[in-house]
Amino acid sequence: MAGTRPSGGGRQGEDPGDPGRGHGDRAGRESEPDYRFTLANERTFLAWIRTALALVAGAVAVLHLVPLDWSGPARLTVGLALTVLAVVITAYAPMRWLQVQRLMRRGAPLPLSALPVVTTVGVALVCGAVLVGNFWG
């Protein structure tokens, strides 16, 4: 496993037979990033999609499947909150893919995104609402 790993320094091409791809150019021109970074970006996109699907699964369970003796509004609030969060994530995932891909082509640093925090807070709020719904609903 030694040797060829993506370094943190941006783009880096290991294949000496391929001069046009992967090497960062100092002239500020754009070039395709190292294929490993592109694949990592693709996997990140897929991980966001799976996150959204897990939230949809929760919405299906609350809205359609599990017989809960909550009040109607409590159930709808939790289910719709999960759905909204899932839709926000599915809208964000392709945009983030594009943004990261564009910045990597330029060799620019990648900014942090707010969505992990938004997702965490959203899921925590839903968990709180479920607790309230179970014990006081």
Partner: protein, 117 residues
């Protein structure tokens, strides 16, 4: 170095696609399950559910067929014809759009069908 990535990045990406497809199908089946579970005759609502579930299942099937086909065409992720390196990204852009859109449409349909009945 005959093109095999020592970090198995293409393989990991292929497995990531497979996980995503499996989750898509699983959530769709979860949604369809409800009307049949108490043994009664499925009403017209069940047909609507099956129709809605076909959106994520169709997207999952298209994505899997596309990714497998591309996997084979690139020598199991070893080399893309255009670049000579591993295929990156593994799937074409329209597959990402399709899977994302199918997830969003399905999420909205789950909420709407809960609101309307």
């Amino acid at each position: 170095m005959s093109g095999r990535d020592p970090g198995l990045q293409p393989e990991r990406t292929l497995l990531s696609w497979q996980r995503t497809v499996i989750v898509l199908v699983a959530v769709a089946l979860l949604y369809v399950r409800d009307p049949f579970q108490d043994g009664g005759e499925p009403g017209p609502g069940a047909l609507v559910r099956v129709a809605v579930a076909l959106v994520p299942i169709g997207a999952a099937a298209a994505a899997m067929v596309h990714v497998r086909r591309r996997w084979r065409a690139t020598g199991h992720g070893a080399h893309d014809d255009a670049t000579g390196q591993a295929p990156a990204p593994l799937a074409r852009g329209w597959v990402r759009v399709l899977v994302g859109a199918a997830t969003a449409v399905f999420a909205v349909a789950v909420a709407v069908s809960a609101l309307t009945g």
